[in-house]
Symmetry: C2
Subunit: 209 residues, 2 copies
Amino acid sequence: MSVVDDVRSLILGGQYAPGDRLGEVELAEALGVSRTPVRDALRRLQSEGLVDITANKGARVVEYPRQDLETIFELRARIEGLAARQATALATPQDADALHEVAVAIREHAERGDQDAVYRLNAEFHQSLVRLGSSAVLAQSISSLIHSAVLLRTYSSFDEEAMRRSVNHHIEIAAAIRAGDPEWAEAVMRAHLFSARASLLGPRRQENE
Amino acid sequence: MSVVDDVRSLILGGQYAPGDRLGEVELAEALGVSRTPVRDALRRLQSEGLVDITANKGARVVEYPRQDLETIFELRARIEGLAARQATALATPQDADALHEVAVAIREHAERGDQDAVYRLNAEFHQSLVRLGSSAVLAQSISSLIHSAVLLRTYSSFDEEAMRRSVNHHIEIAAAIRAGDPEWAEAVMRAHLFSARASLLGPRRQENE
DNA sequence: TGACAAGGGGTTGCATACAATCCATGAATA
DNA sequence: TATTCATGGATTGTATGCAACCCCTTGTCA
């Protein structure tokens, strides 16, 4: 396990909340290494979009303003919509099965109320899908957008109905991919993300009250 | 000018081609600093998607396989399409004017055959637009996709007609934004990117001969 | 002649020391 | 009392030394 992965886990795991300072010596001592690999890790996480570094002032976990979050979900709908569409052509039946497995596991953990597992598996579901639909290179450059939802602790603001919707979307997406239907897959993925946005950010069109 | 920016310029400027090794000592000597800041820079550029680092084997400039390039342009059409759409609402008249200025400058340099300037200004046009349409945070996480085109030395494979199209697209996009017409702006942006993809990668549907 | 193993040069990974910068605290003065 | 400036601690930025690793070369043996 590399130091980058360790620090990323600390952030995504919630040990450090958005806005928290990430001191180099503090992290180095916590992980039992010197400052050098920690600095490496922070630099990389900055470009991954998880960390915000100001010269001579150190690193903090990024905070997304509300407007950015609106845009992020709009973007994810487009990007992951494309990924879902392409995955119908590129994924093997085994890939589709694996995706279905994850979707089912999410449902089970959700029913049991195990939120940590749901976070983790949800990120895994989305990352795998993007990887299937495009490539590892692209998946990496998009991962920060997917992480943004995790940073938000998405599901804490989901009510029961929203959670049920989300869980079912995952399974439906896996089904669409197994069926090889690109339009269906893309449409469900878009619905999935817009539904999450609504639960997270509340009703839109606050402008024309 | 930071070391990261220096190294990025070396890559985007073409001093290092895709696949080239990026030795730490070599870069450090060239830039007159020690290995430490160079290492920082390479780690960051890795997550920006510009370099590829393998443990104990060093860094190389990334190479995108053809299939990835197809996907990259498809993605950019969706992402920058959204950016163009949103920019119509968010950009001030000054922003639109500035964009127009850049578009005109691109035309002038293109007529004069100054490809280096065209590369640079083109990247600036797209980056500014994304920044206008979303936010600095998002623009950064998308920049690697825009860079991929620069890495390709896009315009070297453009014929005269394709170049004219590209140049006019930029101006038209600025016009659509100034007119505040989101559909128009998004449509032109998509055309712009699909046209570039066609020039770069040749005709599609090679599968059904 | 071919294959495999040992050695050596070179490169990266990590740790530590020092320099530069920032920020907060407190004292001195208007 | 409020403001400014200086000073100190704390934190980041950079340099350098050493250890670990990879790969190429070379030599030996079948």
